[in-house]
Symmetry: C2
Subunit: 336 residues, 2 copies
Amino acid sequence: MPERIGRYTVVLNNRPTVQGHAAVVGKREGEGPLGRYFDAVFEDTTMGKKTWEQAESALQKEALTRALNRAGLAASEINHLFCGDLLNQCTASAFGLREFGIPMYGQYGACSTMAQTLAMASVFVDSGAADLCAAVTSSHFCAAERQFRLPLEYGGQRPPSAQWTATASGAAIVGMGGSGVKIAAVCGGRMMDMGITDANNMGAAMAPAAADTLLHFWQDTNSAPEDYDLVVTGDLSQVGSDLLQQLLGREGVTLGSRHADCGLLLYDRKRQDVHSGGSGCGCSAAVLCGYLLGKLERREMKSILFVATGALMSPTTSQQGESIPGIAHLLHLVAE
Amino acid sequence: MPERIGRYTVVLNNRPTVQGHAAVVGKREGEGPLGRYFDAVFEDTTMGKKTWEQAESALQKEALTRALNRAGLAASEINHLFCGDLLNQCTASAFGLREFGIPMYGQYGACSTMAQTLAMASVFVDSGAADLCAAVTSSHFCAAERQFRLPLEYGGQRPPSAQWTATASGAAIVGMGGSGVKIAAVCGGRMMDMGITDANNMGAAMAPAAADTLLHFWQDTNSAPEDYDLVVTGDLSQVGSDLLQQLLGREGVTLGSRHADCGLLLYDRKRQDVHSGGSGCGCSAAVLCGYLLGKLERREMKSILFVATGALMSPTTSQQGESIPGIAHLLHLVAE
């Protein structure tokens, strides 16, 4: 049974299990430090499709298919599908997953969507509203660039604070029982807007939200960073990670080396030209579903906080001079 | 406690209550048959803002503020906010509601979003994951036209099957107890794609999803149309409503006059130039939060099925030749 603790945190007393998970990525992500952890690396990021948008849909289909296989389940056994992406009207999810025939609730949390879909899935399973749920998200560099920034053909320069949208998809199946990673609690974030207007500096827009959600969770649960093996944000990258440490430092909290960020884990910034690091829904999805869940399953870590972050803007709001609200949703994941 | 019945339906055994609700609309909606039921009619649909997108955000802010007031609650008492809209990256919700400071999970179900946000809110409350949740959505004719179709200045012709995007927002507060309307069950829909490619014929794209969800719900709950005072879809309008009756007829189900559609209730098609009827997230949101909930509260009806429908396309997918998947989410609402 889910139980509300404080204003923000929901403790999942039945501790639903991640019964299957998969991450599929593009060439660049496969060449990064985590390459060997992914279920599939696609050298051709068109996925054999005519458009980048269709390629992103194909990534989601691959991720969900592999996660279902790893869980030993058929699509017809899943009660609810929670999915989302960065494309307009969440179409990577709709067109990638329509053929599975699973009742679907589209989710939008920008790059925080993997945490959000898993939060929904685990509350539904923990409460008895569902026996099995799936959580899926994705991003694709080429689809995101032309939608949010400039057509690739323009060859625009990117400032050092810019992040590289990951070409990747992650999927997880949540149910009761089994030997997988348990979801112990979720903490939903509120929008934080510190007036950042630079769409090439998402890390700065999202760091205050990550700090806000973490501080609320520690307060609600009367815990501290030391109680967890790792606090992994996604995807603040370098600029945002530095800011997060500063913001928490002001509150007397030192994260230090206990902190990692999916945007920094996914790429080797010295070797790969990704500027501040990775971003996109697929970034934290692939790092979670490909790397972190496996580390927990192998008991290399026992208890982590996964805090996916999102920037809730659109090109239209940026052109209209709006600032960029950030959001961060947290999952407490444990290996029992 | 939520309880899964069949594959699709979740019975909410604690029957959460709609403790407050509000609908705010634009001039045309105020001039329609339901005008007197709305909490506010804004003659100036710019809402005094510089852009249509900001005007839509202002509608959401108005709706949530009024729903909170009617529930006698402060924003700080709400645990989770479920919200969404049709604009790219759900920005009407993000920018309209960021100042409320409520932990937020963005939802995307196209025009089915009011049912989806209320489904999430009621599962969270019924399960104990939250004491109080808010559900909000909106649409704005002018913002939707330039995003999905053509700039208003172009003055494009619309075929008779086209629908008119409502300028409207609805908000509802869900909690346990109180004298309001109870949410007895929710039924999530799967995507149905019958190959419709005409973005000016959303009713045809969505009708199969409405039929699919209704048939699953009646099967899961072993009930029939006669067990409900009204089956109200939103927003199939005339073309989609006729198709729904045909599709259900093939399965031996006759809805007849027990059926109503939010897209047909909101406007007077003879007097108002809305072609097939209304659409947009705000259409079913305003009809539910302004009209239907009130009829239930006054005991003019005792038990209805509210089936909001959505078309999960974007201009990009239409330009790329994709068909339009439809979806429909159902709420069983009762006056006790």
